[in-house]
């Protein structure tokens, strides 16, 4: 069935309008119970020759029919679009965001995205947007792909469940899980000649203009207050002490353990606000401080010699 839908619809990289042809609908358990109740009421009313009982039964049955169409319509013409991911560390949950835009004049209630578990349902206002935040557990480093996801709803009454299958092809990197404890990085790390390693914050050397990416803790707030310009404190020895973490230096029996150690080093260095670099056998990232560098380095670790993506 999944393969059939996949073949029928093709991949959905971009925004997808949920049209009639791709919305499926079936009664829920509650809907089946409702049907059984209606049959019992029908038999009872016929048996007693009770016309108002029949009228009641038929009114509820018709309400069920309306509910079915309303449930189907609750998804119709919604526009679903991949809206980014938040890479996790292995073992944490990857976050896939799916934006739902509602071009129509009717609000949509209780729309959820389902892979293994469902997201909290979203209310998509008329002519508005809502975002579904799909959390998928990860096991190992590498990447995880959102192969297929159902956009589903049980609104109204929960008697029916309508759903549309998307193949968004979204992939989220999974960073290696940082080692809980890691030995300090080798002192020579990053120094081609193996020179002295000094911590980059020891000696104040002067002020320079702020550039995005400079660690916020180095901003000279006092100077800012005086001169109304952002300056960053420079420390002597920073250049020599900038660590470049090399996979070859990381201790550990296997690749994953060593990647975990490097991830720990990167987090520690980032937390201290110093610049750092990364050297992998096939990739080298020159030292830099800041969040972007952290993401770049962790992504390189996630990609390095990675296994085939897991499928969410």
């Amino acid at each position: 069935m999944h393969d059939w839908i996949r073949k029928r619809q093709g991949p959905d990289r971009e925004a997808v309008t949920l049209r009639r042809g791709r919305i499926y609908i079936l009664p829920t358990g509650l809907g089946v119970a409702f049907g059984v109740m209606l049959v019992a009421m029908l038999l009872g009313s016929l048996n007693y020759g009770n016309n108002l009982g029949l009228a009641l039964t038929f009114l509820l049955a018709a309400l069920g029919v309306v509910a079915m169409h309303a449930c189907h319509r609750n998804l119709e013409q919604l526009v679903a679009r991949p809206a980014g991911t938040e890479p996790p560390f292995a073992g944490q949950e990857a976050v896939f965001r799916i934006a739902l835009a509602n071009p129509g004049p009717l609000p949509r209630n209780d729309v959820e995205a389902v892979v293994a578990a469902a997201t909290p349902p979203a209310h998509v206002p008329a002519a508005g947007e809502a975002s579904l935040c799909l959390r998928v557990p990860t096991r190992r480093r590498g990447s995880i792909r959102l192969e297929r996801v159902e956009i589903a709803t049980r609104y109204p009454y929960g008697l029916f469940r309508a759903w549309a299958v998307l193949h968004p092809g979204m992939t989220s990197l999974v960073y290696p899980r940082p080692a809980d404890q890691a030995p300090a990085p080798p002192q020579h790390a990053g120094l081609p000649g193996g020179g002295i390693a000094r911590r980059g914050e020891d000696d104040f050397a002067g002020l320079k203009d702020y550039h995005p990416g400079d660690p916020p803790k180095h901003i000279a707030w006092k100077a800012y207050a005086r001169a109304d310009e952002l300056l960053v404190k420079e420390f002597s020895g920073a250049a020599e002490a900038t660590p470049v973490f090399d996979l070859a230096d990381a201790p550990g029996a296997d690749l994953e353990t060593r990647l975990a150690v490097i991830a720990r080093w990167i987090l520690d260095a980032h937390a201290r606000g110093v610049a750092f670099g990364l050297r992998l056998p096939d990739e080298e990232l020159p030292p830099a401080p800041g969040d972007a560098q952290r993401a770049r380095c962790l992504a390189a670790l996630a990609r390095f010699d990675a296994p085939a993506p897991d499928v969410a």
Partner: protein, 652 residues
């Protein structure tokens, strides 16, 4: 209270409200302890949710369930009947409330609520019940919507509004199903009725029974006459059954169905009419004396000229009858029937027997004797009263010699006994006498308060003759009804008094509504369906005709529903550029320049230029700006403002 608890409380409040509305029609019918138990559990449960109390543990609930089950078995002999079943449903809802935690538990309560609505219709299908049940169904569905909502809850009453809109869309589909779903007119399993005695005549009569009934204004049946002309009041004797078995106090119908039906000669003009009777849980039908023919297969004519159905009448029933007010019935009397009609209990009412012997001896003939009994009632100090005193076990003795106050039943009982005591075959006939004419609907309303009892005696060469001893004491009762008979009395029940003309008219309007309701909705049966189908061109419709009409009807209504839902979904034309351009067109149209359907805006602008060269410049500017806004790759921010300004200044 945490947001989650608030949410839970609100859900529970919706469900409980729906359930309470569904229970309301049953509260007075249920045993008081059942009603009390259910109501207190519902109240306790709401408070418990509000205050965050713990729900009873499994074994406490088990104990309660056990107690309640024993209670039901003790109070209701059976749980398969309507009363027991309803009580069980009500109690189940209460027990379920005690363990309700999740939304899923609550859906069970809503289903029970719908079943209680169905049960309400099994008890009564009148307008009032329907008017209560419809909003209840709505409320229950809204509660289901409310508890199934998981995201933001929105305005408090939105589930009610949304459900209302959906019921409106459901109505045409439901109507098609109601009209065309074939009625079988039978039952799959026995249709158990309410075990509780329904108000109305029963198969036995003790002193005081009928005067109790007269306090009751409930409609027993309604009659439409052919030609819309009812017979005169003195001919409105509606026979229900005869009472033949007397034990000195109570008259019973007796188990005596094996007599053959005596011959009847119908004289005079017939009266044709249609009776729509309310359920009685009895096997009797009502017909004017004396019935000649009736809706076949519905009933048979008993040896005492009453119509009897094969099954108790548990739903509103309509039937056609032809009666002849003038008749000769049963001119020859079989021995067995004679014995039955002369039977008297040994040693009971001795003073009456003695009186009968004396009076018979004094009279010249049987007829003279019967007349002397009526004279006795008329001339001596007998009183016709709605509130007669109770009678001793020898009820006729007590009535004739002590109390001398009685209602129709007392007189009929005494008269019949005295006839039998003198060797004249006689029996008590129970039924209704009279009826209120509803000028609005042109039909007769016969109420329980019209219940009456009279006598029937057998005389040689004349057969069975009706004698109404009440007429001797209170002739107004027969000719003009209760009001006349009790003109100066306060004892008349409130409903019978015409307190004001307005109220009386309102009552007639309401009754007419109920009568029409019975005719068009409650009694919409196979025959009515077939007449609808033949109106659609199906002569002699079979199951294929039903299937066709049902399928086509459903196809059309569901198609309309789908279209309706799709139209609601369509984005509304709120494009401000289009609105501004429309204003531009309107202004030109007022000057006689109209854009043809399908004419492109630029062509239209050229036409304007040719017709009114003075307007050429602004018209072209407006057109170009509009086209840029609607179809241009990237309209500038100021374009819309410019278009609006241009249109506002455009004065052709």
């Amino acid at each position: 209270m945490s947001p989650e608890r608030t949410e839970n409380f609100r859900r529970l409040a919706w469900t409980t409200a729906g359930l309470a509305a569904a229970l309301a029609p049953h509260l007075l019918r249920l045993e008081p302890w059942v009603a009390g138990f259910v109501l207190s559990v519902a109240a306790w449960r709401l408070v418990a949710e509000r205050r965050g109390w713990r729900l009873p543990s499994t074994w406490v609930r088990g104990l309660i369930t056990l107690g309640v089950t024993i209670g039901v078995i003790a109070s209701y002999a059976t749980i398969t009947g309507l009363d027991g079943g309803t009580a069980l449903l009500a109690l189940m809802s209460a027990l379920k409330l005690l363990e309700t935690r999740t939304a899923r538990d609550q859906t069970v309560l809503i289903f029970i609520g719908w079943f209680l609505c169905l049960a309400a219709f099994l008890y009564a299908q009148d307008v009032a019940t329907a008017a209560w049940v419809l909003p209840t169904v709505w409320l229950l569905a809204a509660a289901l919507l409310r508890i199934s909502l998981r995201g933001g809850e929105g305005p408090a009453l939105r589930p009610f509004r949304t459900t209302g809109a959906m019921l409106l869309k459901a109505a045409p589909v439901a109507l098609v199903l109601f009209v065309f779903f074939p009625r079988f007119g039978g039952s799959f399993w026995g249709a158990p009725s309410s075990e509780r005695a329904q108000t109305g005549l029963t198969e036995e009569m003790s002193p005081g029974d009928i005067s109790d009934l007269t306090q009751n204004d409930v409609v027993a049946f309604r009659v439409r006459f052919e030609g819309d002309e009812p017979p005169p009041p003195r001919e409105r004797y509606w026979r229900a059954l005869t009472l033949n078995d007397f034990d000195g106090y109570t008259w019973r119908r007796g188990d005596s169905q094996s007599y053959h039906v005596p011959e009847v000669r119908h004289l005079g003009a017939p009266v044709d009419y249609t009776v729509t009777m309310e359920p009685t849980a009895q096997q009797m039908l009502f017909a004017l004396d004396l019935v000649a023919s009736w809706t076949p297969d519905l009933a048979y004519k008993s040896w005492d000229f009453s119509l009897r159905t094969r099954r108790p009448v548990n739903a509103v029933l309509r039937y056609d009858v032809r009666s002849h007010p003038e008749y000769r019935a049963g001119e020859s009397l079989t021995g067995a029937l004679e014995n039955l009609s002369l039977q008297l209990p040994d040693g009971r009412n001795p003073r009456t027997l003695e009186l009968a012997r004396r009076m018979r001896a004094a009279a010249a003939s049987d007829a003279g004797y019967l007349q002397s009994i009526l004279d006795l009632f008329r001339e001596q100090a007998f009183y016709y009263t709605l509130t007669p005193p109770g009678l001793a076990l020898n009820s006729v003795d007590d009535f004739l010699f002590n109390t001398r106050q009685g209602f129709c039943g007392h007189y009929a009982s005494a008269f019949t006994m005295m006839a039998r005591a003198a060797g004249i075959p006689a029996r008590v006939v129970a039924g209704y006498q009279g009826g209120d004419w509803n000028p609005l609907g042109g039909y007769l309303i016969v109420r329980q308060s019209h219940a009456h009892a009279w006598s029937e005696v057998w005389l040689p060469q004349r057969g069975w003759v009706r004698v109404d001893p009440t007429a001797a004491v209170a002739p107004e009762r027969i000719e003009r009804g209760f009001e006349a008979a009790f003109a100066e009395s306060d004892a008349l029940p409130g409903a019978l008094r015409r307190e004001s003309e307005l109220l009386w008219q309102a009552g007639m309007v309401w009754d007419n509504l109920n009568a029409e309701w019975n005719d068009w909705v409650v009694q919409f049966d196979r025959a009515a369906q077939e007449s609808v189908l033949s109106g659609l061109g199906f002569d002699d419709p079979d199951w294929r005709a039903f299937a066709t009409v049902l399928a086509v009807g459903l196809g059309i209504t569901v198609g309309i529903l789908v279209l309706w839902l799709a139209v609601e979904l369509r984005p509304r034309a709120t494009d401000p550029a289009a609105a501004a351009y429309q204003r531009f067109q309107n202004r030109l149209a007022r000057r006689g320049i109209e854009r043809a359907p399908g004419e492109a805006p630029r062509d239209f602008a050229q036409r304007v230029r040719r017709l009114r060269p003075d307007l050429a410049l602004p018209a072209l500017a407006i057109t170009e700006t509009y086209l840029r806004l609607r179809y241009g790759p990237a309209p500038a921010a100021g374009d819309l403002r410019m278009l609006r300004t241009l249109v506002t200044r455009f004065r052709p």
